[in-house]
């Protein structure tokens, strides 16, 4: 707990330095948040190049929005929200170029991180089959471990809507696994 507090204070300081024009501090912010942003985009868009494009766009947007950010926690929430909305916009485009079957294959150099890679791949595939908004709700819930109230805040919807999306999505995923 004390470690987390120290990290938060460090991040606040890093943000303050980035706001003062320190590009190395901004690079540290990107380094700290890149896995979160990239993974949100990767799990929703199912394409590594597309996820990287979105991540870059979001961080460039973060740079432009630095003066408006009040704290490191605010910056993290901002990144989460902007990434989700960018992904939903991409998924709603008529011609979504990111739906590639091989999109979430891990890099060859990565060792298998799970005892059940096939189940995980199937789950990711089923999540990718959900409509854009419920898909983001599920990703925020299970990737970022956010509570429904935080998801509601990130996606600008009511908590009841979030809970409803979660319930229906879990049902769909469960049915998909058993069929």
């Amino acid at each position: 707990m004390k470690g987390a507090l120290a990290v938060a204070e460090d991040l606040d300081e890093t943000l303050a330095r980035a706001q003062a024009g320190d590009s190395a501090a901004f690079a540290n912010l990107v380094r700290h948040h890149q896995a979160m942003v990239f993974s949100l985009a990767l799990h929703s868009l199912r394409s590594r190049p597309a996820a990287e494009d979105v991540a870059q766009d979001v961080f460039v947007e973060l740079y432009r929005s630095l003066p408006r950010l009040e704290s490191a926690a605010h910056a993290a929430g901002w990144l989460r929200r902007v990434t989700c909305h960018r992904c939903i916009d991409e998924l709603r485009r008529p011609r979504c170029r990111f739906e590639l079957a091989t999109g979430t294959l891990p890099d060859r150099a990565e060792p298998p991180a799970s005892p059940e890679p096939f189940l995980e791949a199937r789950l990711r595939e089923l999540v990718a089959g959900l409509p854009p908004v419920p898909r983001m709700v599920v990703i925020l819930r299970y990737q970022e471990e956010l509570e429904p109230s935080d998801i509601a805040d990130a996606l600008k919807m009511s908590i009841n809507t979030v809970k409803s999306h979660l319930r229906r999505s879990i049902d769909t995923l469960r049915k998909g696994l058993t069929s």
Binding site: S23, F26, A27, V30, R31, Q34, A35, M36, V37, F38, S39, L42, H43, R48, E52, A55, Q56, F59, V60, Y63, P106, A113, S114, E116, L119, E120, A121, L123, R124, V127, V138, I139, Y142, Q143, E145, I170, L173, R174, L177
Partner: protein, 112 residues
């Protein structure tokens, strides 16, 4: 099978590809506005200022000519009005002096 745990594992964070930070920083540098005035922008601003000044001077000259014409018109109108009044006065005087000749009936009676 616990679906929640399986989903957590399936959707765990993935490391970002190498080079994201460098690419982001390069884009920021690329997109940063250049503070130095470019020659084209300088020329455009100079041309715009010249146009505005020349147009303003031309408009001022035009306005001067219009007001001069108005002044001359007013003076001519006044002069004409004065002339008309004078002519009218002369006509009245002429009318007053031209007493019509009445036939002298007494003379005609004396000298038939």
């Amino acid at each position: 099978m616990n679906l929640d745990d399986d989903l957590r594992r399936a959707l765990r964070r993935q490391p970002a590809p190498d080079g994201v930070v460098d690419k982001v920083m390069a884009r920021i540098v690329e997109e940063a506005p250049d503070d130095r005035p470019s020659p084209i922008r300088f020329l455009a601003v100079a041309a715009a200022i010249t146009l505005v000044v020349a147009g303003g001077a031309r408009y001022f000259q035009h306005q001067q000519a219009v007001s001069e014409a108005e002044r001359v018109k007013t003076e001519i109108r006044l002069a004409l009005q004065i002339t008309i009044e004078k002519i009218a006065l002369v006509q009245v005087r002429l009318n007053d002096t031209q007493v019509p000749l009445q036939p002298d009936t007494a003379f005609e009676e004396r000298n038939p």
